[in-house]
Subunit: 428 residues, 2 copies
């Protein structure tokens, strides 16, 4: 049996280590490599320290056959990936013609000539193949050392992604044939997004789903946006068709077990799901937001083409704004409080009528940390939906978490109510 | 000289490896450890595979003295951190009374009793100290092996953070005394946030800032929100006071070089900066958004207490909404187009007047990918600000990037104009 092909990604940059930034490149890399049947088993992050990059490379070659490094290829002095790879693998750095030419051509397009610092970007370890950067100035490179393919790419996501597509993936496909590597069966992954159930409840619903010993992993991850469930095939199996059938069967089983709580699959988002359904039904939406402050509008308009079904939104932070923008009677607010199901209903109805659209959606709540009372604590949120039938739908939630979490959950709850209404499944 | 104390974080979870999720815990950990003078030099991410977690532990002990693992402590079968630590260090797992008691007490508060799966969470490697989880059900633990302190915490950020504060940081302070560890001088880091300059321009402004050989690293990171600059002292120096003086001097130098482009320092955000200034000046704000779809309102209301200065927002996605909500004349839109400086000015003026507040801020643009023309391409964005002087300020931008990047940049540009206006530095 041919040994499986494992990958490790190494993200380089002190900013990624201590600077409040996450490394997002490795997620893209894992996806793309997975399609080739190459599993990312380790991800590492190191700062801009040559000795630490060297250590990371030496560790990676002991446990991975494909090593993709991102970052540290820029023109500044703290960009030391080139030096680190040379040092780690015992190659010398040298100025490489094809690297300089690509960079010069790219800069020329922007009407610039390379300065001394940028010329450093043309230094490539001996024996390495230069990888052209069609988007930016820093070239990448790859070389084989200790039976591992070490690939070095810039850290700028747009440049890294384009170079993966144009240079690295074709190379990996070719190499895997030439070197006698036998990539595993592609790792297939099904992702399911749920809202409205706690992780423990999702777990209970999925109990006994995976037959004992079946080559599929079940994953679960809770966030303010809901619980994500994933099924991932284990690569390198001898019976790929059987696995695919099994995954299909399990996917159907998950769908039926999660039923209405399942709002999207794969890379689909809640806002795309409701957007598609609004389009399909030819409906226009207007939103009235208090505690979410514009987040629902922002999310809806993340979808290209959303102007076809989003007419407007009103962010009514003050009580006066609720009355002036939506016609919510001041007495209703005075009597029930701004955070109440009555005001949520009046806001949804008000925005629907004023915008003259099919459906109005509203949120009012206490995002905290201040503003809570014993009877109306932080996290109390009301959602409203009005479709002109004279019977607005309202829902009460008591969310936990900080201000941001409460805003996120509130926006998700509102969009989920809209989704259920669009599917004819919202209970009044 | 006492050897420096280095840390490695290991985030565990297949979701973090391939699931489109970044590991945010390690950023918090790096911050907190840095305050104790412990540098995170490596971050690792591994999936829920026992053998991979074992490998990660074995690698970490060769290069770090403090190892903090997050995740894999839940009740489900794929949570195997407990088993992996036991296996890696040669300890046996056993049910531990204090772990079970803490968990039972916590669940009792929620009116539940532990089920069989949750009881797995009470299994702790022999010789390890149990770390109480005051927020969730899964206890953590720590043990010393091969001169490294291995700490295992849950992956849920809220639980991990609370356990760091209540359990781990006091322990590290105590241990560092008892074990004769001499933590380095705290790593001090100054972060500067700029908007409006390209990375190359920031680089040029900061040229020659750091004296040759000075124990301070200069970092730079570009994002749609601007260019972040950081100064980080290198720990373990023999002259801490001198370093502090140097950092202070460099900080002042950076401030004067970046001048008005510097909008915030440290963990401060643009929305906090403008919020504080609005509060201080006793001004109320209203916002009219087209292409940002609510993002500006969302960002402003991320700040606790923002209801004191945010009155309302109008998300006017359709032309009709611009006319009805803001009184922008339909002829003005017909004549200039919805994406024009005239409409931006009318939107800012309209929202200010209707809300009867001190200042109105507006954005109109083409976020794409559709909707662009030769004269008005995707990325063309107009910002408007009206303060009732009869002289609205407008700015034109031509942003690059995808829909989300254009929305982000537009929101940042609008808030930056507001900031400059608040400081009396906006050019009309």
């Amino acid at each position: 049996m041919v040994p499986p092909l494992d990958a490790e990604t190494i993200a380089i940059g002190t900013e990624l280590l201590i600077g409040g930034r996450s490394d997002s490149n490795s997620l893209f890399l894992a996806d793309e490599l997975g399609k080739l049947g190459i599993a990312v088993r380790f991800k590492s992050v190191v700062g801009d320290e040559r000795r630490d990059i060297v250590t990371a490379i030496h560790t990676a070659v002991t446990r991975a056959q494909v090593i993709i490094m991102t970052g540290g290829l820029g023109p500044t002095v703290d960009d030391c990936t080139r030096e680190a790879v040379a040092r780690a693998t015992g190659h010398r750095l040298g100025r490489r013609k094809e690297a300089l030419e690509g960079m010069t051509a790219r800069l020329a397009q922007w009407g610039r000539i390379p300065n001394t610092a940028q010329l450093r970007q043309g230094m490539i370890p001996s024996g390495a193949t230069v990888l052209n950067n069609p988007v930016g100035s820093a070239p990448g490179f790859c070389l084989t050392w200790k039976k591992a393919l070490i690939i070095s790419l810039p850290g700028v996501p747009r440049e890294m992604e384009e170079m993966m597509r144009q240079e690295v993936l074709p190379l990996l496909r070719a190499e895997s044939g030439a070197a006698g590597w036998s990539p595993r069966e592609p790792i297939v992954r099904q992702v399911f997004h749920t809202f409205g159930l706690a992780e423990a409840d999702v777990d209970a619903k999925l109990k006994g789903l995976i037959p004992k010993g079946a080559p599929v992993d079940l994953g679960m991850l809770a966030s303010p946006m809901g619980v994500l469930v994933s099924l991932t095939t284990k690569g390198n199996q001898s019976t790929p068709e059987k696995n695919r059938d099994l995954l299909e069967e399990l996917t159907n089983d998950v769908r039926s077990r999660l039923s209405d709580w399942l709002f999207a699959e794969g890379r689909d988002t809640m806002e795309e799901v409701v957007g598609r359904e609004l389009s399909k039904q030819g409906l226009m939406l207007a939103v009235a937001e208090s505690c979410t402050g514009g987040l629902i509008g922002h999310r809806l308009t993340q979808v290209a083409g959303s102007s076809a079904y989003v007419d407007r939104g009103a962010v009514c932070y003050s009580n006066r704004a609720k009355t002036e923008m939506l016609g919510v009677p001041a007495e209703l607010i005075a009597h029930n409080g701004a955070v109440s199901k009555e005001v949520a209903a009046a806001m949804a109805c008000g925005i629907r009528q004023r915008a003259n659209v099919s459906v109005g959606l509203s949120v009012t709540g206490i995002a905290g940390p201040g503003g809570g009372t014993e009877t109306k604590p932080v996290g109390l949120v009301y959602i409203g939906l009005d479709d002109g039938t004279g019977q607005p739908i309202t829902q009460e939630f008591r969310f936990h978490g900080d201000r941001n979490v409460i805003k996120q959950r509130s926006s998700q709850a509102a969009l989920d109510l809209l989704r259920r209404w669009l599917l004819g499944k919202a209970s009044r």
